[in-house]
């Protein structure tokens, strides 16, 4: 009989399909693992509502567990509380940076309160250091990057474009 701890260890090796250097547990989207009789129940929360990787992630989790000999797998979706980048493990942040993606800067989540943020909207009051050269002379090119979870930035020192994993 498989243990819950064993399943967590296996899940820690399932890569995120978009950013394969981090695992689904690094990302903090696996909310619970439980046993229901012989069935392994994995509860997953989506990153963004429309993220096309969600169904791929579920498929990858199921495939990985089956490869480890788990016959009965059930995936459940949990929306609440909503996923937040605060749940990204510290080690995952280093992996992101090494991969060329600036990790989220905690406490900078968009609130939708535009009042008082207009300076920030037009100028950008928080600094996202370049993941390649470490320069703090960077600028936001677009609020949305290659996927909904990222923003597009450019480094004004090394001139390389890069993705910033934005806070949500």
């Amino acid at each position: 009989m498989v243990s819950v701890a064993q399943v967590w260890d296996w899940l820690a090796e399932v890569p995120d399909p978009e950013i394969p250097v981090i695992s689904v547990t690094d990302l903090g989207i696996v909310r619970n693992v439980a046993l229901d009789g012989e069935t392994v129940v994995v509860t997953v929360t989506p990153t963004y509502s429309g993220c096309p990787a969600t169904s791929v992630i579920n498929f990858e989790i199921e495939t990985a567990l089956r490869a480890h000999g788990v016959a009965d797998v059930r995936l459940e979706r949990q929306l609440d509380p909503p996923w937040t980048t605060d749940w990204l493990k510290p080690a995952a942040r280093d992996k992101l940076r090494a991969y060329g993606i600036a990790p989220p800067i905690d406490g900078t989540r968009a609130t939708g309160v535009v009042a008082g943020r207009i300076n920030r909207l037009t100028g950008g009051a928080f600094v996202v250091p370049c993941p390649r050269c470490g320069s703090e002379k960077t600028q936001k090119v677009s609020q949305f990057g290659s996927t909904p979870c990222k923003a597009a930035y450019q480094c004004r020192t090394c001139l390389e474009p890069f993705d910033y994993f934005k806070c949500i």
Binding site: G50, C51, L79, D80, A110, V114, R117, Q143
Partner: protein, 256 residues
């Protein structure tokens, strides 16, 4: 006294109003894919559209569950006819130019974000959960659309003129967002959804602030179109649905 059946019927309507508005705007915004003025904006538009379609799956999925007739989100999106759609008239307006698309987005986001915030307090935990999820995404939509309305409004003579024209044209479609009917009243009374007019003060303040920064002037006319939430649409929605629903209509239950 409202019965459970009456309330479920109102809830189905309310959920379709939310889900159809995100669906129709999501589809409209996706029409820009490959056509936006610069690559970064093309990607941003596609990402906003993706968020909205994702939220649609949640809202219409719940609507189908509440309805209890065995339909799902896809069936509601692709197999209903135009008069069964409950989206706001604002979101079915054609894209026009890039500035017009952004102005429509901003006027909607300025309503969408505070509405989701209010819905986080819903007595129905399913609605509160979806609103909390969607709200985080929409906060980014609002920041982007407000930012670009300011940049283009307070931009060149050409961009200013286009943004003002977009505002003048879209303004009469904004009132519907804050106008309630008996369905809204029943849902508000039950503590399930926020009354549309409760969003008015926040929307007014936000729009005034951003338009001020953008050096744009809201029209003085108070005439407002309405009817989308009750299924009375402009001719534009039918054309949009003909494109959006074509495959599922021609090849029902197609898989690939």
């Amino acid at each position: 006294m409202t019965t459970k059946a009456d309330l479920d019927k109102a809830l189905f309507e309310g959920l379709c109003r939310l889900g159809d508005s995100t669906l129709v705007l999501g589809h409209r915004v996706s029409e820009w894919c490959g056509l936006a003025p610069v690559l970064e904006e093309d990607i941003a538009l596609a990402n906003v559209a993706l968020d909205l379609i994702g939220q649609t799956q949640l809202w219409l999925g719940l609507a189908a569950e509440v309805e209890g007739k065995g339909r799902d989100a896809d069936e509601l999106a692709f197999r209903r006819d135009v008069w069964e759609f409950r989206n706001l008239l604002l979101v079915e307006r054609p894209n026009g130019d890039f500035g017009h698309t952004l102005m429509r987005q901003f006027l909607f986001d300025a309503w969408h974000q505070p509405m989701l915030k209010a819905l986080e307090g819903s007595g129905d935990s399913r609605i509160a959960g979806i609103a909390a999820k969607a709200g985080r995404e929409v906060a980014y939509h609002l920041e982007r659309s407000a930012d670009l309305v300011i940049r283009l409004g307070d931009g060149t003579e050409e961009s200013h003129a286009r943004m003002q024209a977009a505002l003048d044209r879209l303004w009469p479609y904004t009132g519907e967002m804050m106008a309630g009917d008996s369905t809204d009243a029943a849902l508000a009374e039950a503590g399930i959804m926020a009354a549309p007019d409760s969003i008015r003060p926040v929307w007014d303040a936000l729009v005034a602030e951003v338009l001020g920064e953008a050096t744009l002037k809201a029209p003085e006319s108070t005439f407002m179109h309405k009817g989308g939430k009750q299924g009375q649409h402009s001719e534009h929605l039918g054309h949009m649905l003909a494109t959006m629903q074509w495959l599922q209509r021609a090849y029902p239950d197609a898989t690939w």
